[in-house]
């Protein structure tokens, strides 16, 4: 588990061909507004479990919203058939493994957990 002082980082596959993302790009991918990066690459976002502190910190730092508000937002997309929520990784280790194994996968983990198998393309520092 990350401490509240840890950076949360967005990770991608080493071979995705993208080295950097803007905050707007990350918001669009994780809020279901787009599944395509500016470079044209399709992104498959991954969420951590709803009880995960990193998930709460990620959305709070990225959007300023609580998990209740994020879930209310996703309820709109799910029940309207407009988008599917991110796939679920059961732990940060599994998220990194899924990203390392899938060229299009994109996840978020505490910076202290990152291994060389994945690439960091966006950082969210503590508020």
């Amino acid at each position: 588990m990350a401490s509240a002082a840890d950076d949360i980082v967005v990770i991608v596959n080493q071979n995705i061909g993208v080295n950097k993302m803007s905050r707007d790009d990350v918001i669009d991918i994780f809020l279901g507004r787009s599944r395509r990066l500016p470079s044209g690459v399709t992104a498959l976002p991954l969420d951590l479990p709803s009880t995960s502190l990193e998930r709460e910190q990620f959305y709070s730092r990225l959007t300023g919203k609580s998990m209740g508000e994020i879930n209310a937002y996703w309820a709109r997309l799910i029940f309207s058939g407009r988008a599917s929520p991110p796939s679920l990784a059961m732990s940060q280790e599994e998220a990194m493994q899924m990203v390392a194994d899938n060229r299009n996968a994109m996840g978020y983990v505490a910076k202290s957990k990152v291994t060389p198998s994945v690439k960091i393309i966006f950082e969210l520092q503590p508020e």
């Binding site: 707007d24 507004r33 599944r35 209740g68 309820a75 029940f79």
Partner: protein, 396 residues
């Protein structure tokens, strides 16, 4: 009847076993996922205009025109108007990029009877483009798609002056495309179809609880465009169709009974209508701003519709306070026989307090005040109403 009861029991059992949103399970080549929503709502009429309007004892607050949900003048608590339970299931063939989605809703306003709201197939043409066909929600408003999902709404019921229309679904086809335009995320949707509704709740409000009406929308064509960037979102919509209405029986005040009727509101062979809408919504930091406008023009009819809402709110941790005003105004087309003093016109103001109990549930308390501002010849005149509602919302 037995099947209906069994379905109702299954839906409530599913709600009782609520777990976090979207559950998936593969069976062979098919993947199944399901989710649901529940709102338990209760209201208490605090006051207003005491009168008999059609066959209702008022004061009356119209919570949902499309479903005919009206809080009336009875003493005590009223449970049915905002309560509903919905289940949505999707079967996906991942290798064929094809899925089928169905949504069924049991509403207190319909005595718990189950309506199949949506049943549509989706074919994913590309990563960003999908074509869908079947029965879907007509996307007239920003919240149309989720008008039954209380947890996704900032109110106990949608502002009725704007979200009040005679039909909410259609049968047809739509194609949706997501794109990035510079720094903006865009979603473009185009649709075509038809819809027939018999004895809709909307016309029960105007013609009596046991009135009988048939409404047809034919050759529906339209589309909507949503642009989003960070905390700002705007949505534009345009829909056109032919519209026909036949009233068979309506309440007659003079005889205090239902009589056969010929509705004078639309020409016998119907008319065209053009629907224009815009929503501007913002969520900067802890602030919430909602606004939406709708205009409907019917060149061959005696009236046009204008409706608006504006709401502002603020979050305080898991609490949220929101003030909203909504207004409906009809405009007489005198050249077509419209009566300038016979126009419908009303306003509603609300104050809503929300508390997020968990990540997937909330409770809300809302105070509504409705004011009738119709012309002197306007009927039915529901008058003023002050209503307190409480709701518990959960998604699972």
């Amino acid at each position: 009847m037995l099947l209906k009861e069994a379905c109702r029991m299954l839906m409530f059992l599913a709600a009782a076993c609520a777990v976090p949103v979207v559950h998936g399970e593969p069976i062979g080549d098919l993947e199944f996922s399901g989710s649901g929503f529940l709102t338990v709502g209760v209201g208490k009429m605090l006051g207003g205009t005491h009168a008999t309007v059609l066959d209702r004892n008022c004061p009356c607050f119209i919570a949902d025109y499309a479903q005919g949900a009206v809080y009336d003048g009875r003493s005590g608590l009223q449970w049915g108007q905002d309560s509903k339970l919905g289940l949505q299931g999707t079967a996906t063939l991942p290798n064929a990029n094809f899925s089928v989605t169905a949504q069924a809703v049991a509403r207190g306003a319909h005595n718990g009877n189950i309506d199949l709201e949506w049943l549509y197939g989706s074919y994913q043409l590309t990563d960003n483009t999908v074509i869908q066909f079947g029965r879907k929600r007509l996307p007239m408003f920003y919240y149309s798609d989720i008008q039954d999902v209380g947890f996704a709404l900032p109110w106990t019921h949608l502002p009725p002056q704007l979200y009040g229309w005679e039909m909410v679904n259609y049968n047809g086809v739509n194609i949706r495309h997501q794109a990035r335009w510079g720094d903006w995320a865009a979603t473009i949707n185009a649709l075509a179809g038809n819809e027939n509704v018999s004895d809709s709740g909307y016309w029960e409000i105007y013609n009596g609880k046991r009135s009988r009406t048939r409404v047809k929308l034919n050759n529906i064509i339209g589309g909507d465009l949503t642009l989003a960037r960070d905390w700002f979102e705007t949505r534009l919509v345009y829909i056109q169709s032919g519209t026909q209405r036949e009233s068979f029986t309506i309440w007659d005040d003079a005889s205090q009974n239902y009589l056969p009727a010929n509705d004078p509101g639309l020409p016998g062979n119907g008319t065209r209508q053009n629907i224009y809408g815009i929503a501007l919504n913002m969520d900067p930091g802890d602030w919430i701003f909602r606004s939406e406008l709708l205009y409907i023009n019917r060149p061959g009819a005696t009236y046009k519709d204008y409706a608006q809402l504006v709401g502002i709110g603020r979050r305080f941790g898991e609490w949220q306070l929101m003030a909203t005003a909504s207004h409906y105004g009809g405009e007489a087309v005198v050249a077509n026989g419209g009566d300038p003093q016979g126009q419908e016109n009303h306003t509603s103001r609300s104050l809503t307090l929300r508390y997020n109990l968990t990540q997937t549930s909330d409770i809300k308390m809302q105070l509504d005040s409705q004011k009738d501002q119709g012309g002197i010849n306007w009927a039915p005149r529901y008058g003023e109403a002050r209503l307190l509602t409480l709701s518990y919302d959960v998604v699972f």
